[in-house]
Structure formats: C-alpha cells, structure tokens
C-alpha cells in the first residue's frame, strides 16, 4: 500500500480546511445552494432523494485495515450502520447530514482518505485490477501507475473543468478485471519490442445512453512518456469536447464524431508539441514505487495440507474455494474474493460490523490489504493457504462467505429508485429476486459464469450494457419496466449487449432470466459460458423463449 508522505498529508489537510469553510459559508447562507452545488460536487457530496450522499474515494480500490475501520466508524456514527461499495470501487454513504460532512472529511483525512474528485467534471478515481500485486499474470503492479495518476490528477490546474467526468483504468495482465474498455481512457500494460514497459492506450469507452467500447488509439506508449500522452489526450478533449449538451459531452462522443484515426492524429500532434517536459521524472516514479510497502511474504511450500484437508472434509469450503479463491504469485498464498452478494441482500452493501471483521481478517491474514472490485465485491489478496479455512469460517459466520463470485447471483446493481433521484425503476429488488431464484448453489455452479448487471436508468451506473445479461429500468407511463440486453461484456472481450425485445413488467423479469438460462443449458456445447453460447447461436433462440407466449 502507498504510504502518504508529509506533502500528501498537508495537501489533504489544506483541502479539508477549504471544504469546511465552504460548508460553513453555505450553512449561514452566505452562498446559495446553486453556488454551493459545484463546490460540494468537487467533494463528492450529492443531494439525493432522501438526504445527502457522500462518495468517498478508494483510490484504485485499495484499502488498509485502519481505513476500512474508519469507513465502519463513519457508517455507525454518521449513517445507518452500513455503506455501499460502488462499481467505481468507491464507497457511498446515503444518509449524510450536511453539517456533519466536514467532520467526516476530517476523520477520513486521519487515515489518508478523502472524497476529492469523486464527482464533478474532473478526472475521477482510477480503476485498477483488484488482484494487482497478487496475481502472477501481471507485467508490473498497476497500482504504482494508478497512484502516479492520482497525484497528477489531484486538483489539476488545467483539467478540473472538463466537458464531463473522466475515468481512467489500468491493468497489467491479459485478464481484464477492471472493465478497462468502458473507461474514458483504458491503459493496458504491455512490453515493447525491446522488452521495455509501456501501455496500449484505448480512449473513448463509456456507457450511458450511447455506449461505446473504447478503441485503441495507440498500440504502445513507453511508460516514461505516459504523462505527456495523457496531457495530450486531456487537452484535446478539454478544448474540443462538446459542452452544449451534457449527454454528448463525454470523450467517447468526440472520438466517435472525429473518427478514431482523426482523434488519434490530433492527440499525436499535440503530444509532439508537448515534449518530455510534462513527463513524470523516473526518480518520482521510483519514489512512488518505493512508497508501496514491500510485502513480507513468507517462504512457504506451494501446497498446504490444512487447506487440502479442509477441502476434502467440508463441501461448503470446497465450493468456496472453487468459486472465490484464486492462485497467488507467491507459493503458499491465495487470493480470496469476499462476495458482497449474499442471497437476498443489497449488492455492494456492507455493514459496519462486516467492515470491522474484514479489516481484522485483513490485518491478521492478508498483510493488511483489502481490495474493492468494480463488481462490488471485496478481496483479501494475500492469504496463506494454511489460513484460508480459518478465514472462510470467520467470513461464513458474518454472512460473507457466499460462494458465488462470477456466478449468476453475483449481480451488479446500481442504487436505483430506492435512493437515486434520476432512477426510472428499482434495481436492488430485481437483483434480490434473481439471486433468490438461483439460490441453489449446485444449480448456480452448473450454470457457471454469468454476469447480470442492472441499472435503474440509462446512465448505466450498474453497467447493464456490458452484462452477459443486462437489465435496464425504464419508465412506461409511470410504471417500472425492464429492458433486457444480451451478449455484453466488460472484460477483455468487451462488447455492448444487444436488446432482446420489448421491455418487460417487473413481475416477468425473473422468469425471463430463468428462460434465458434454460435456453443456454439446452444449447450449450462443451465448456461454453452463457456468453459463448449466445455469441454462437445469436439472439433468436433466447428471444423465442422469452417472448413465446406473446405470439
């Protein structure tokens, strides 16, 4: 984990002091709500249906135990005892009082956390591979680069008033666990011909009412030139992105309207003029790398008898291992996914007690490291195989050992009409119904990887466009309806899903999901996931099953 130095701490202190002053000016009506709005939005404070919502940045989804404990403390003292992990790997509290917001911000600062740039038209929190630093697949630890981006983008003088919000993602392995191509800029770490490190650069992804998968605009930029290249992209966007219509203001629209080649040409031309003066010196990159505490891995045998015995003796543990435990680069260690999708609960919600427990487990068993995934789960990235049974038992006792990662009940859902002022329909109850219908874990495993993603409106915070099955809440004459899409993916085979047919009333959605699953089980050939079968057969058999009774 990156350790803040004095400069980082003082920067944060200055920011919190500024925000406190601004809230005070608002509370005594020295500034109006209208004037206050852009200010609070720079600090992640939204006005929602019932109360203020505060969005706290979890930079590249990485937390230490004491940080997670502080989130628990805030949940207990300032909210209703729980918080919500989002698809941006941030945490949201939905029941905040304005006058308490500065205190919360101060508390966060004591553990090097903040809510800076979690909203507004600026560069937001960078998404990283949640298995960074633990998976053997990666070329480098992407968090080093994410942290460099975090610093570079913090209160950026030129790029804080962009046409629209701006999101960057970085992964360093071939497997994409960060939905890179639905970001404004997606960076894939690559090796160049001479073996040097660099990035493939994709620009212009995003969901919302015009979803795009980001096209690659440059195959390879040497790592040392990353920041001048980012500056070039951001400058072209800041100058030429549309500002007349907020629905057309994301960089994806600029890229699409210019065409990928012309956009890339403009970026290259700008980049050549910028030169190396805007790159981060190697010494600073080395310092950031060094500020990530080296992890004290033990030298262990590659297998563990405690682990193997538990697997044989306890079918529930074996199931958990099959679905939630992944290989680690260090022999004798494992990556443990903690599902926040317990059947019947709200996806991504976590109670203060659960946060405390996970913090304790991280401290004792995972080298003080917790990750948040864009699929709204948590990860204990460095657990000794010997300890996995103990960790599993502790998680199970707190309702946190649901063995469903990547399965049909591991659903992404946005807050929807239960909280969000923009929603057309509820998302959470839909997720709950589907999870309950597929609560039988044997059946869920038989179905295998199936990603369902639900958004309460076209803003697509629930990433429905890139769900293998996507569900979008629409409003039909005041009633909640749901439009299904098939074939989307946010992973390395990224694609935007296609509409299945006319929107369905709420009471038809879970049945329709079941019908889709039936078709898949009937049609699938060996080893195929739902997505693979759909891609082979096309829409027809699925459509037929769901709309059969309509004919």
């Amino acid at each position: 984990m990156y350790r803040y130095d004095e400069i980082d701490k003082q920067f944060l202190a200055d920011r919190t002091a500024e925000f406190r002053g601004q809230v005070e000016r608002r509370l005594i009506n020295e500034i109006t709500e209208e004037q206050f709005k852009p200010i609070r939005l720079m600090n992640g404070l939204y006005l929602q249906l019932h109360a203020y919502m505060l969005r706290i940045a979890i930079p590249y989804g990485s937390l230490r135990s004491r940080q997670l404990r502080m989130l628990a403390e805030i949940a207990r003292t300032h909210d209703k005892g729980y918080g919500h992990f989002t698809t941006r790997t941030n945490m949201q509290f939905h029941w905040i009082k304005l006058r308490e917001a500065p205190d919360i911000i101060d508390k966060l600062a004591t553990v090097d956390m903040h809510s800076i740039q979690t909203s507004g038209n600026c560069i937001r929190n960078t998404t990283a591979d949640p298995h960074a630093g633990a998976t053997a697949e990666e070329l480098d630890d992407p968090r080093v680069w994410c942290e460099a981006v975090r610093q570079w983008s913090s209160v950026h003088p030129e790029f804080s008033f962009l046409p629209r919000k701006f999101k960057i993602a970085i992964v360093a392995s071939l497997k994409d666990r960060a939905a890179v191509r639905i970001h404004d800029i997606g960076l894939y770490m690559r090796r160049g011909r001479n073996g040097d490190l660099g990035f493939e650069v994709a620009v212009g992804g995003g969901l919302g009412r015009t979803p795009y998968v980001a096209p690659t605009i440059r195959q390879f930029i040497p790592a040392a030139r990353l920041f001048s290249y980012l500056e070039a992209i951001l400058r072209v966007y800041n100058r030429y992105g549309r500002r007349d219509n907020s629905f057309k203001a994301r960089i994806k629209i600029l890229v699409a309207s210019l065409g990928v080649e012309e956009f890339a040409r403009q970026v290259e031309a700008e980049w050549e003029k910028i030169g190396e003066g805007s790159d981060l010196p190697d010494t600073e990159l080395a310092r950031i790398r060094g500020a990530f505490t080296p992890l004290p891995f033990e030298t262990l045998p590659a297998s563990s008898s405690a682990f193997e015995e538990a697997r044989l003796a306890d079918p529930a543990f074996a199931r958990f291992v099959r679905n939630n435990v992944h290989p680690h680069k260090q022999p004798g260690y494992a990556i443990v996914d903690v599902s926040l999708k317990a059947i019947g609960e709200t996806p991504g919600d976590c109670s203060a007690e659960q946060m405390d427990l996970i913090a304790d487990l991280a401290e004792r068993y995972s080298l003080d490291d917790v990750r948040v995934t864009h699929e709204q789960n948590l990860v204990l990235p460095h657990v000794r195989l010997d300890d996995v049974p103990t960790v599993h038992a502790a998680l199970a006792a707190a309702g946190l050992a649901t063995p469903n990662v990547n399965l049909i009940s591991d659903i992404i859902a946005c807050p929807g009409l239960d909280y969000c002022a923009l929603a057309n329909a509820r998302a959470i109850p839909i997720a709950q119904h589907i999870a309950e219908r597929f609560a039988d874990q044997d059946r869920a495993e038989l179905i295998g990887e199936l990603k369902i993603k639900i958004s309460g409106c076209i803003n697509a915070c629930g990433h429905h466009h890139v769900g293998h099955i996507g569900i979008l809440g629409v409003d039909k004459k005041g009633e909640e309806f749901y439009q299904l899409t098939l074939g989307g993916s946010g992973a390395e085979d990224a694609e935007v899903g296609k509409i299945l047919g006319p929107a369905l009333p709420e009471n038809r959605v879970t049945d329709a999901i079941e019908q889709l699953v039936e078709v898949y089980l009937r049609e699938r050939q060996d080893g195929e996931r739902f997505l693979d079968t759909y891609r082979r057969t096309g829409m027809a058999p699925f459509k037929e099953a769901v709309y059969a009774d309509v004919h």
């Binding site: 400069i7 920067f11 200055d14 002091a17 852009p38 030129e158």
Partner: protein
Amino acid sequence: MPTYIKLKDGVAAWAEDAFTTVADEEKLPRGDVIISLERFKTEGDHLLVEGRSLGVRLEAGEAVEDLVYDLPRLSVIALVFPKFKDGRNYSSARLLRDRYGFKGEIRAVGEVLREQAGHMVRCGVDAFEPYDGSTPEQWQAAAHRYRHVYQRDSDARVPAFVERAQ
C-alpha cells in the same frame, strides 16, 4: 477608472484598468481597448498604427493559435469563462504562456469565482475580474490554499515531485 485584481510579483492587488472593453457593435472610444478576435482581425493593424495598446478578448472555443503571430503586439489577452463549469480557456492560458511565450497580461473575465483562483493562477492567468465580488485578499488566500501542488504548470510553483527530490 474601473478596478480589477492583478498579480504583482505573485501578490493579488487592486489595479486600475487602463483598458476599455468594447463590444463589437460599440463605437471605439479613445485610448487602449480590448476587442474581440473578429474585430482585431479587421481593425487591429490600423489601431496599432494609431499607437494604442490593444487587448484581444478570446471567447471559450476560439483558438489561441489564431493569434500566435500577433502576440508580440498585444498587451492583454482577456480569456472569457462564460460559465464556472467551462474550462476551455484554462488550456488557452497554458498554451499562451508555455507554448507561445506570451509575456503580456492574461485576464480572466466572465463567471470568475474564487474557487477557480488556484487553477487560473497556475495556468498563467495574472489578472482577474471576479464575478463574486472577491477582494484581492480573498483572491490571494484562495489561490494559495494549497501548500503543495502535484503538477508542473505555467506558474513558478515547485511541484511535489521536485520538492521531494530536493
């Protein structure tokens, strides 16, 4: 004479405005004026020959590149921030200072609020017509809210990565 805020050796202070801002349909008064890019293109040469000092008002979306060859002859570039949210002219300021070496006054006009002070100063803006009635003291405090900055930019501030290496 109307007043505005100007940085002198990095310190914000009231200054008297020697320039008159003239809209396109208005008749030109005597003396030093700030005019639109459009008007500058047709009348600029003639006004400079008359011995006036000139400023050009650049709307958000107008390209600084159009002025590059005239910059040595201009005293002021007034960058318009039509709305708090509209950040296009931050890029203009940076390019004017860093890429094209403009040494004259860069003035922020439009919806110019204290919350932008730090960003503007860092991008090389050195004169301000605040929309929110800020005083130079308030402006100065807002612009220097942060003891540290993370980026190298058009002002003289030392970025964190240089501080750390020292």
